[in-house]
Symmetry: C2
Subunit: 336 residues, 2 copies
Amino acid sequence: MVRRTTIGDVAADAGVSTATVSRVLNGGAVTEATATRVWDAVARLEYTPNALTKGVFAGRSSTIGIVIRDLSSPFYLDLIRGADEVAAANDSHVMLANTFRRADREIVQVRTMDEQRVRGLIVTTGEATDDRTRRMAGNGTPCVIIARSVPDPPPGMHSITLDDIEAGRLMAVHLAGCGRSSVGVVASGRRTSQRKRTAGLRQALTDWGLPLPEDAVMTAETEDEVNAAVGTLLTRGRDRGKPLDAIVCTTGRLTVAVHTALTTRGIAVPGDIAFITMDDFPWATALGITVVAQPSYQMGRTAAGLVVDQPGGPVELVFAPTLVARTSCGEHHPST
Amino acid sequence: MVRRTTIGDVAADAGVSTATVSRVLNGGAVTEATATRVWDAVARLEYTPNALTKGVFAGRSSTIGIVIRDLSSPFYLDLIRGADEVAAANDSHVMLANTFRRADREIVQVRTMDEQRVRGLIVTTGEATDDRTRRMAGNGTPCVIIARSVPDPPPGMHSITLDDIEAGRLMAVHLAGCGRSSVGVVASGRRTSQRKRTAGLRQALTDWGLPLPEDAVMTAETEDEVNAAVGTLLTRGRDRGKPLDAIVCTTGRLTVAVHTALTTRGIAVPGDIAFITMDDFPWATALGITVVAQPSYQMGRTAAGLVVDQPGGPVELVFAPTLVARTSCGEHHPST
DNA sequence: ATGAAAGCGCTAACAC
DNA sequence: GTGTTAGCGCTTTCAT
């Protein structure tokens, strides 16, 4: 390994002390003449300061860590962009880690972020690492949990969630407005956000006189499970004497799978069955799929802002979802 | 800011020296009894070692940096997964940064990685940072450039590319096999990989007696430009007396845009026009879109492997693309 | 305005 | 097997 040029080398080259170089680099009080000499030396020696050392001294790096559960969800791109912009505006920068939806990976990634002494941490769901993030918050590392509300958060531990109840309600209202009356739901796992979306849907549907039976909601993780779930929902609808005329998917991650399960059965959308799902995505417009979108860019900005601003107590923010109506639920009759 | 517990605190708590604690943590020679005492102290004090300090001493962190031009391309997910797996198997870990296709962001992100003294760097294209990556390679930080072949690479600077000529050829052969004879191309920018794909396509098409006129290739970056380009290609085909019966898109990033430009014009795929594009993506199966795929997972594994193994000279690797035939080019007649 | 020197948390020789 | 000590590259008092 080559020895890299250090601040000492620059100092020697410029004929000053390391303290002076440090001052020049970080904007201390120096003569213009010395500053020039130092910058010249920096350029000549192609000096790149060691952020590790800086961090050691400060007790903290300038990196904002983001641990994402599943980078493949389009939701995260805008979130990252939002966070990145705020970081860049606060001489910080963002580092991403993906957990591939695995708890063990999440644990490792969050620990790594802690070991790196990140300036702050943004985690999506972060269920497997609640103890650690609480501790980090206690140690002065602001943690922002996305998509999960934290019970009894300590100072420095914030949460940013979507109003999932409202997301479900939006879906119900739109579906009812499109004249649909027999809804089936495909959800992912039993995380609170998923349950709330279903609950909001059910509540609003019931208010319209359209009850949503327990067995009209199924959980699925893989493509195969989704396909099976859709089949089951269809059958149950028929058995119930109320054939399904709408399918709701409560997670953007399974949109493709649900859509495929429908089309491979020769089911026309929205002719036979309406389809509505979560999270906007690049193909949604092309396919005419109606979605309930999250303000992910804004969520990313806010999350990074929380890290940078370090508000005293815990902050719990709930963002409002938006319905993006396209054609997959048929025609909407506002007055119905 | 709270003072975090240090190795000294652990040492005091366990009644040993910091050196012993370090030995326990990193697997040196210690009595089982001391080891237990130390681990107890670590647990009791919830000690998380400071990776920054470790890195200062080693002159290098254990992080592998990945700088991605555009995370929104599905290509990168598998690449990241591949790299992440290899990193995890070599007590390393991956940190991502996204440049949002902006040269200035790329420069900042790569510099940041250098400042963090990453163990190695994986960059996609990295056009704006060639000087820096070369220097990094010289400083003992292996750099792997993805999707661009590096001219005259120094030791420690590697490149992983797709056989773009072959990618173009695969498209041509498939299109010809599907009986298409008038092809229009939408490409993105003038990067070498884009040009090579077009060149490979043109060469193979010509070999089949199907020349590809210069003006049947257009460049576009935004959705609007893509839409305009498709319109122009269509018009030119008609003017030429050979109406288009196939559209090729040489970048996965513009797949949606090209597809939309086609369908909004009421053009049936493959009825009126065949459509083939680069990079497999989640919706491709559902939409029946034929693609030329890159072995991105394998590329990611290989890239991280290059960082970890540190081969002596520069390594230039070219991966083979694969045709994933679906229905968007119509029926294939192998013997034609 | 600048330098000398101490120290951030950790590892690695070197003694014992 | 364990402790002592000397740094790693940098920032920051404290003098001057």
